[in-house]
C-alpha cells in the first residue's frame, strides 16, 4: 500500500478529529451532541469562498472576520438549542432542537449559495515530498491544527481554572453551582469556542475537500462517528476516532473503490458499538 494513501488518510482523519473535538467541547458542559455543529464547518467554507475567493481579501483579515462570524454563530446556536432544551421536558429535546438548528442554518446556506461548490484557494500550493508521497502544505496545516487544537484544548481543560470548571460541570453541575461556578456562561463559551474551531477547519480544509452548502449534516455525522468510536466526551477519543475513520476510509477506498469507504466507516462504528458500547475512552452515557 502506498504511503500516499496513508498521508491522505491522516489528513482526512485530522479533519474528522477536529470536528469531533469541537463536538466534544460542546458536549462536555452540556451533554448534548450537537447536530448543528457541522453547519459551522460550512460557515468556514462559505466565508472562505466569499472572502478569499470572491472578494479577494487578504488571508489574515479573512481569518479574523471568520472567527468573529463563527463566535456569533455559536452564540445564536446556543440560544437555539439551549432555550428549547430548558423549556421542553422531553428527553429528546436536545436532538430535535439541534436537528432543527441544523436545518435552519443549512437552508440559510442553500438560499445564499445556489449551485455553488465552495472551492477558492490554496493557501500555499507547494507540495512537499515525503518518500515520494505528496503532502500539500495546506494538508500539513490541517494536520498541525488538529494537534494544536487537541493540545490547547487539553491544556485548557487541565491547566486553567475555567477549563477545570468545565470538567467540574461535566461531572456534576449541582456541586459546581455550590462552588460558585456559573454554568450558563460556561455553556455559552463552549458553543462559541466549538463553533470557532469547526469553522476554522472548514475554512482550511475546504479547498482540498469538496464541500457543498448542504453538506453540514454529513460532517456532523462524520464527527459523531469519530466521537462515538473514541468515546463521547473524551478529547483523546475524538482524535483517535477521527484518525481511525479518516485512515480507514482512505485505505478502503484505495483498496475496494470509492463507495466502500463510507461503508467501512459505519461498519466499524456498528462493530465498536456492539463490542464496546461506550467507545474506546468513553464513559457510560445516560439519558439527560
Amino acid at each position: 500500500m502506498s504511503l500516499q494513501i496513508w498521508i491522505d488518510g491522516l489528513f482526512a482523519g485530522s479533519v474528522f478529529a477536529i470536528i469531533a473535538l469541537s463536538m466534544t467541547i460542546v458536549y462536555q458542559p452540556t451533554r448534548i451532541m450537537n447536530f448543528a455543529q457541522g453547519e459551522g464547518f460550512i460557515l468556514g467554507a462559505a466565508l472562505g469562498y466569499q472572502m478569499v475567493g470572491v472578494w479577494k481579501w487578504p488571508l489574515i483579515q479573512s481569518v479574523v472576520v471568520l472567527i468573529i462570524a463563527a463566535a456569533l454563530m455559536g452564540f445564536i446556536m446556543e440560544r437555539m438549542v439551549m432555550l428549547p432544551v430548558q423549556l421542553s421536558g422531553s428527553k429528546f429535546a436536545w436532538i430535535i432542537a439541534t436537528l432543527a438548528a441544523a436545518m435552519i442554518f443549512q437552508s440559510a446556506f442553500n438560499i445564499k449559495y445556489v449551485n455553488v461548490t465552495f472551492s477558492y484557494f490554496d493557501i500555499i500550493e507547494k507540495d512537499i515530498s515525503i518518500f515520494g508521497a505528496k503532502l500539500s502544505i495546506q494538508k500539513l496545516i490541517v494536520i498541525l491544527m488538529m494537534i494544536v487544537v487537541f493540545i490547547i484544548n487539553d491544556q485548557f481543560l487541565k491547566r486553567t481554572l475555567w477549563g477545570r470548571s468545565i470538567r467540574a460541570i461535566a461531572h456534576n453541575p449541582d456541586t459546581s453551582t455550590i462552588l460558585g461556578i456559573p454554568t450558563k456562561p460556561v455553556i455559552k463559551l463552549a458553543f462559541i469556542t466549538g463553533t470557532i474551531v469547526i469553522a476554522l477547519v472548514g475554512f482550511l480544509a475546504t479547498p482540498v475537500i469538496i464541500v457543498a452548502p448542504a453538506a453540514g449534516l454529513f460532517f456532523t455525522i462524520q464527527g459523531f462517528t469519530a466521537a462515538i468510536i473514541g468515546g463521547v466526551g473524551s478529547p483523546k477519543g475524538a482524535v483517535v476516532g477521527g484518525l481511525i475513520i479518516g485512515i480507514l476510509d482512505s485505505v478502503v477506498r484505495a483498496w475496494l473503490g470509492g463507495t466502500w469507504g463510507l461503508f467501512s466507516t459505519f461498519f466499524v462504528l456498528a462493530v465498536i458499538l456492539i463490542l464496546k458500547p461506550n467507545g474506546f475512552f468513553g464513559k457510560r452515557v445516560e439519558g439527560r
Partner: protein, 604 residues
C-alpha cells in the same frame, strides 16, 4: 364545568369524523379545481407522512427509543414494493404486506445488534444504519437501480385499470385510519402499557417482570412494520423508489409533525402532520425557504408548546380526565380474596446466606443472612448508608453478588432480575417510579400483564380472547384500587394524584403482579395519616393472605405494630433481629441510630 368538558369532547369527536369524511370525499371536492391530481398528490404524501409519524411515535413517543432511521425504513419499504411488485411481478397487495414485513425485519435486525447500546448510542447506531442503507441502495446495481432508483411503481391494480387514482387514495386513507387504530389498540393493551413502563423506568418495568430487551425488540419491530408500509405507499404514490427518500433531511417533517402534535399522544402525529402539510402547502414553491420555515416552526413549538398541541390540551383542565363519583355500593362489586397460591404460612420463601456485595473497596453488604417467610411482615431498618437498599438489590439480582447465595422457593434464584420478578418477588422502589403519563388504571394493569395470555395480534384486532382477558383484568384492577380506597380515580393520569396516593398506587401495582414476596422500600415517606392508615391495612390484608411483605424503613414507629420481625443492619452487617419492641430497646440499635460515641471529653 363537567358538561363543558363533555361537550368539548363530543365536539372533538364530531370534528374528527368530519375530517375523515372530508378526506374521503376530497377527490370529489377538488374535481373542479385547476389541478386536481396535484392536490391529490399533496394530500396523499401527507397521508404517508402521517402513517410514518405514527410509527415514529410508537417507538420514540411511547417506547422512548431514539430512532434516526425512520426515513431509511421508509426507503426500504419503497424498494420492497418496487422490487417485488414491479420487477418480480408479485401481486401488489401482497407486495405491500411484504413491505411491512421487510420493514419489521429490518428494524428487528438493527435493534438486535444494538441492545447493549444506551439511549444516545442507540440513536447513533440508527443514524449509521440509515446511512449504510442509503449507500447500499445507491450501489445495489441492477436490483436497486443505483443512484437513479427504480421507476414505474404503480398502485396495485392501477395499470390494468382495476383501480383509479382516487380509489387508491381512498385505500390510503383507510390504511391511515387502520394505522391509527392499530396504534390506539396497541397502546391501550398490555403491550402498550409495557412499552410505556419501559419508557418511564426500565428498572421498574423489570421489577414487574417485563423483559426489557424482548419488549424493545417487539416495539421496534412494530414501528418498523408501519414505517415499511408507509414507505411502500409513498413509493406507489410518487411512482418511484430512490435512495434520497432515506435522507434524514426528509425526516424533518416527521419530527416537526410529531412535536407539533404532541409526542406520545395518540392523535398528535396525525394532527401535527396535517398542520405541517397545510403550512408546507402554503409555502410551496419557495424552495429552500421550506426547510427554514419548518425548522423555525419546530424550534418555536418546543419553546412555546413543549408538549405539542394534543399534549397541551391533555394537560389542560379541559383535556384531562377527572375522577368519577363512586356509586353507592359499587365497592361491594369488587371483592378480592388475597390468597397467595401454593404457599403455607411460615414457609421460608426466600433465604439469603452470607450475602456479600462489594463496590470497589466499599463493603456495602458484608455477609448478611436473612429469611423471608410466607405471611409475615418483615422489617429491615438501619441508618443511612447501612446497606439496606443494596441488600435488596442483591437479593433481587439487580446487583451481582460478590459472594453468598440466594435461594428462592427452594431453588437458586435466577440471575436475571426480571425472572426473579416473574418467580414472585416484586419490589417497589424508594423513589416513586410511577408511570406518570399513564392512567391510574393502566398503572395497575401493567402489573397484571403476566396474566394476559393474548398476543400483539389479539390486541391489534381486539379478538374475543383479548376482550375477555382485558375485562377480567380491569375488574381485578378495580378491586385492587378499591382495596386501597382509590376507586373512582381510574381514569386520572397517575402524575396528577397526590404523593401519598402515588405511593399507594405503586404498592397496588406491585400487588397486581401476584407476588409471593413484596418488597417495599420506604413506602411511608411523605404519606398523610389517612394514607398511612390505608397502607397499614393493605399490608395487613396481604400478609394475612400469605404474602411476605418486606418493609425497608427508617421509621420504626411505622413498623411498630405492623412488623412481625425486624432485622437491623449497620455497615452491611446484621446487628440485631427480633420483634420491633426488642429492637427498639436494643442498645446497639440505639447506638447505630443516634451515635452513642461519647466524644464530650475530646471535644471539650
Amino acid at each position: 364545568m363537567i358538561s363543558t368538558f363533555k361537550g368539548l369532547n363530543r365536539l372533538l369527536i364530531a370534528g374528527s369524523l368530519l375530517a375523515i369524511a372530508l378526506l374521503y370525499y376530497f377527490p370529489i371536492l377538488i374535481k373542479s379545481s385547476s389541478n386536481p391530481s396535484f392536490y391529490l398528490q399533496v394530500v396523499s404524501v401527507a397521508v404517508c407522512s402521517a402513517i410514518l409519524t405514527i410509527s415514529l411515535n410508537i417507538c420514540m413517543g411511547y417506547g422512548g427509543l431514539l430512532s434516526l432511521m425512520h426515513t431509511g425504513m421508509q426507503m426500504v419499504g419503497g424498494y420492497a414494493i418496487a422490487i417485488l411488485a414491479v420487477k418480480q411481478g408479485w401481486n401488489g397487495w401482497l407486495a405491500l404486506l411484504a413491505a411491512a414485513v421487510i420493514g419489521a425485519i429490518f428494524a428487528i435486525l438493527v435493534i438486535l445488534i444494538s441492545l447493549r447500546a444506551t439511549y444516545l448510542y442507540f440513536g447513533m447506531i440508527t443514524l449509521a444504519v440509515n446511512l449504510i442503507a442509503m449507500e447500499a441502495v445507491r450501489h445495489g446495481g441492477e436490483l436497486t437501480g443505483g443512484y437513479n432508483g427504480l421507476f414505474g411503481v404503480f398502485a396495485p391494480g392501477i395499470p390494468s385499470g382495476m383501480m383509479s387514482a382516487e380509489g387508491f387514495y381512498r385505500v390510503m386513507i383507510t390504511i391511515l385510519i387502520l394505522a391509527y387504530v392499530v396504534q390506539r389498540n396497541l397502546i391501550f393493551s398490555g403491550f402498550g402499557r409495557n412499552t410505556m413502563a419501559l419508557r418511564e423506568s426500565a428498572e421498574t418495568a423489570t421489577a414487574l417482570g417485563i423483559s426489557p430487551n424482548m419488549h424493545r425488540v417487539k416495539v421496534f419491530g412494530v414501528s418498523g412494520a408501519l414505517a415499511g408500509l408507509a414507505g411502500g405507499l409513498l413509493s406507489i404514490q410518487i411512482g418511484y423508489a430512490v435512495a434520497d427518500i432515506g435522507d434524514l433531511n426528509n425526516g424533518l417533517i416527521f419530527f416537526v409533525g410529531l412535536f407539533l402534535g404532541g409526542v406520545g399522544t395518540l392523535a398528535g402525529p396525525v394532527l401535527g402532520v396535517a398542520l405541517v402539510a397545510v403550512i408546507d402547502f402554503m409555502i410551496r414553491g419557495t424552495g429552500q425557504y421550506r426547510t427554514l420555515v419548518l425548522g423555525s416552526i419546530l424550534l418555536l413549538t418546543m419553546i412555546v408548546l413543549p408538549r405539542g398541541i394534543v399534549g397541551t390540551y391533555r394537560a389542560s383542565r379541559f383535556g384531562s380526565p377527572r375522577s368519577r363519583e363512586v356509586l353507592p355500593g359499587e365497592a361491594d362489586n369488587y371483592h378480592l380474596e388475597i390468597a397467595v397460591k401454593n404457599v403455607t404460612k411460615g414457609e421460608v420463601l426466600l433465604e439469603a446466606k452470607d450475602v456479600v456485595k462489594h463496590f470497589g473497596g466499599v463493603h456495602a453488604v458484608d455477609g448478611i443472612s436473612v429469611q423471608f417467610k410466607a405471611g409475615e411482615v418483615h422489617g429491615i431498618i438501619g441508618p443511612n448508608g447501612s446497606g439496606k437498599s443494596t441488600l435488596i438489590s442483591a437479593l433481587t439480582r439487580y446487583h451481582e453478588l460478590t459472594s453468598g447465595s440466594v435461594t428462592l422457593l427452594g431453588a437458586e434464584a435466577d440471575k436475571k432480575p426480571f425472572k426473579v420478578a416473574r418467580d414472585g418477588v416484586t419490589r417497589v422502589f424508594q423513589i416513586p417510579h410511577l408511570f406518570e403519563r399513564v392512567s391510574v388504571l393502566d398503572n395497575v394493569l401493567t402489573g397484571m400483564y403476566r396474566r394476559d395470555k393474548y398476543s400483539i395480534f389479539d390486541a391489534i384486532f381486539r379478538t374475543p380472547r383479548y376482550l375477555k382477558a382485558n375485562s377480567r383484568s380491569v375488574a381485578e384492577a378495580k378491586a385492587l384500587l378499591s382495596l386501597a380506597g382509590m376507586l373512582g380515580m381510574e381514569e386520572l393520569a397517575a402524575g396528577s394524584i397526590s404523593h401519598g396516593q402515588k405511593r399507594l398506587l405503586e404498592v397496588i401495582r406491585a400487588v397486581a403482579t401476584e407476588p409471593k414476596i413484596l418488597i417495599l422500600d420506604e413506602p411511608a415517606t411523605g404519606l398523610t395519616q389517612d394514607e398511612m392508615h390505608s397502607l397499614t391495612n393493605l399490608i395487613r390484608t396481604l400478609a394475612a393472605g400469605g404474602m411476605c411483605v418486606v418493609l425497608i424503613e427508617h421509621n420504626v414507629a411505622f413498623l411498630m405494630d405492623l412488623a412481625d420481625i425486624v432485622t437491623v443492619i449497620q455497615s452491611g452487617k446484621v446487628i440485631a433481629e427480633g420483634t420491633p419492641k426488642e429492637v427498639q430497646k436494643n442498645e446497639r440499635v440505639l447506638e447505630a441510630y443516634l451515635g452513642n460515641t461519647d466524644f464530650s471529653k475530646e471535644l471539650a
